[in-house]
Amino acid sequence: MLSEEKIISGCIEGQGDCQKALYDLYSGKMFALCIRYAKHKAEAEDILQEGFIKVFDKIDTFRGDGSFEGWIRRIMIHTAIKYYHKASRQNESLGWETLPDSPLRPEVYGQLDADQIMEMIQELPKGYRLVFNLYSLEGYKHKEIADMLDIGESTSRSQLTKARAMLQEMIGKMYSLVL
């Protein structure tokens, strides 16, 4: 199996087998990421496709000062955000809300598997889903999210709060353990 370094240098030279190797290496993780951002599977495939085209096109700009997976991940996220901008923009402006402590017992979360979480995230409204993905799962700050999505910082916070609340509600319904 080719090392990551050789795959990258092969991709820079435009070698088809290295591009395929790179795709095989990261397409699974990146597709899972795309699904979390996309409304449906077809959109996730579009994001994945466009993201990998960008990866192959810009791979010579990868500086090597961070992880290669993280670099690809950022490209996929920005591609997903571009899709978000293509669609309708969320322009809600809600007040500051704090999330009450989860009414669910901690052991409930232990029973969740990744596919179930993915399904629930996909059921979130688009704006909520993006903010939740970016903040809770990718670690972006609200200001960065606000800049990326072209929304107010307060909107980002409120959507995150609502996204969490909706997820907890969905988990609760799933296990009928709402207290």
């Binding site: 088809g16 795709y23 699974g28 597709f31 495939e45 192959f56 979360y109």
Partner: protein, 556 residues
């Protein structure tokens, strides 16, 4: 469970989660990556075809017109099949061969005036030899021989008794007439101005054929004289009309007069038809000399009905135009090292070439053969957008809780304040680099003149006079470098002081609003032969500009 724990738990659950995408996604990616590469080559291919096409057009030798006259074959056959032709038949076969020879010689001619005249004089010499040989029934002493085939037919010892030969005579006459009619038709198509003259030629041809076998020499001579006068009048009128516009026509007309004068001598001896053939040949040659290469004739030699464009007079033109387009920039490593590769990536990821705008004036001269030369002055500006991440500082506004106050009644009041703090981080920034250029374009072109629309193909070079740079780019030493410094340290200036030579190619559509004024649109490609970066710089940057010129033209 608080928010933080909730996020952490989900993150942990999803960490490393993988979903295999449908195989069709990779197929689509592969297809798009390959077609992207193909598009890149297509651009260069189209540009190369344009340049090669222009070069081939100007360098291509004049195509043979033999294919335009398939009757040549039958003429040769007639000459072979009619060894016992009568004197009149001999005249006609000689005329037919003259046309054939004229066509063959024409196909070998260079388009220049001097070559055309030299070839013309040579042909005329040949014509006189033939006539002399035909009239005397043998070759005159001191004259060089023509082709053996022609000698055998022209120097035939057969006399008037064999004039009525039922096979050779009829066959030769019909074929000769056919050729002549074809030649007339062809000439008619080529020039409406010759209609009057050609009708005379047709009559003459008919008369000449009809007169065969009449035996009335006096009647024939009388009619010959009348027709000759008619021809001379037409020729004179045509000369006067053309003389006003073309010195070349005057020169060729002198040759035509010489032919007519010599024909007069022979016509008195009953050899009618030579001056017609000679004149038709000269007419054709004059037109060819005036028009130079005709693209249609060259590309479609078998097509008899090539369209005729315009009046082909000498023109001078002044153009004023604006142009908008797109700048394409290509950055590569000038030296091989890991640091420079990193820098290359940095420059590529931060710079996006944008539009190119400009305006200019142009003076042109267009010759009668459709070839033109243009020169002018052009001022233009190219723009490059620079998006980058400033990793040194960012200013962030944060809400800070100052204190929580509890009054006497035990009510709690939280005191907030908004302050600005400077913290280390990253920030997206954007600026634009502008590149102002003053250039001198010099092109040669060919114009297909039309009654309302002209189409021009131009190709040439552009000399850069001034290249002013404003803005800044990432320097090779990881700093921002201001462009346009007056005395930059060696190896640190990303752009040359001058852009050097570039090659340009364009195709213009010109719409005539009036006799003098017209509007044109002209897509233009410009490729810079030298990189815009200095040779000692870390990166090699080359430019290519595609633009659309729109302007007005005044002709005088």
């Amino acid at each position: 469970m608080n928010s933080k724990d909730f996020d952490q738990l989900l993150r942990k659950k999803l960490n490393g989660h993988s979903v295999t995408p449908d195989p069709k996604v990779w197929d689509a990616i592969q297809h798009q990556v390959q077609s992207s590469g193909r598009r890149h080559y297509l651009w260069w291919g189209a540009f190369a075809v344009l340049i090669l096409g222009a070069a081939a057009y100007f360098l291509w030798p004049k195509a043979s017109e033999t294919a335009t006259y398939p009757e040549n074959t039958s003429t040769s056959e007639v000459l072979k099949e009619s060894p016992q032709a009568t004197p009149n038949t001999k005249n006609m076969t000689a005329s037919a061969q003259l046309i054939e020879e004229s066509r063959t010689t024409t196909s070998q001619l260079a388009p220049s005036k001097s070559n055309a005249l030299a070839a013309l004089a040579e042909e005329e010499n040949e014509v006189q030899k033939e006539r002399y040989a035909a009239s005397k029934g043998s070759q005159p002493p001191g004259l060089s021989t023509s082709s053996p085939k022609r000698q055998s037919s022209l120097a035939s010892p057969q006399g008037d008794d064999e004039r009525d030969s039922p096979t050779g005579n009829t066959l030769a006459t019909v074929d000769h007439k056919s050729i002549k009619e074809k030649a007339i038709e062809n000439t008619q198509k080529k020039s409406s101005s010759n209609n009057q003259l050609l009708s005379g030629a047709t009559e003459n041809s008919e008369y000449s054929s009809a007169s065969i076998g009449s035996g009335s020499k006096s009647k024939m001579q009388k009619l010959n004289t009348q027709e000759q006068e008619q021809d001379n009048n037409l020729l004179r009128e045509e000369n006067e009309r053309r003389a006003a516009t073309s010195p070349l026509w005057n020169a060729l007309s002198e040759e035509a007069s010489a032919v007519a004068a010599s024909d007069e001598l022979y016509s008195n001896q009953g050899f009618k038809g030579f001056q017609k053939e000679a004149f038709l040949k000269l007419e054709r040659r004059q037109k060819e000399a005036l028009q130079g290469h005709d693209l249609c004739d060259m590309l479609f030699p078998s097509l008899e009905d090539c369209p005729e464009f315009g009046d082909r007079r000498r023109r001078y033109q002044v153009d004023a135009y604006t142009q908008t387009g797109v700048l394409f920039s290509h950055l590569t490593n000038n030296f091989s090292s890991e640091e420079i590769s990193t820098y290359l990536g940095q420059r590529r990821s931060t710079e996006t070439p944008l539009w190119h705008i400009g305006f200019g004036v142009r003076l042109s001269t267009q010759w009668t053969n459709g070839i033109s030369m243009r020169g002018g002055l052009q001022i233009s500006q190219s723009k490059i957008r620079v998006d980058y991440v400033d990793e040194t500082q960012r200013q962030t506004t944060v809400n800070v809780s100052i204190d929580t106050l509890i009054d006497d009644q035990g009510n709690t009041t939280v005191v907030w304040d908004t302050i600005s703090i400077i913290e280390t981080g990253v920030e997206d920034r954007r600026h634009y680099n502008t590149f102002t250029q003053i250039d001198i374009p010099l092109t040669v072109g060919y114009t297909f003149l039309g009654p309302r629309y002209d189409v021009e193909i131009n190709g040439g070079v552009m000399f850069n006079l001034l290249f002013q740079r404003d803005g800044s780019v990432f320097g090779a030493e990881d700093n921002f470098y201001a462009l346009g410094a007056s005395n930059p340290p060696a190896g640190q200036q990303p752009y040359d002081q001058k852009l050097g030579l570039s090659i340009i190619g364009s195709v213009a559509l010109n719409y005539h609003m009036s006799q003098q004024f017209s509007l044109f649109v002209e897509p233009q490609l410009r490729y810079f032969l030298d990189p815009v970066s200095p040779g000692d710089y870390a990166l090699h940057e080359s430019w290519f500009i595609g633009s659309l010129m729109v302007g007005g033209r005044y002709s005088f």
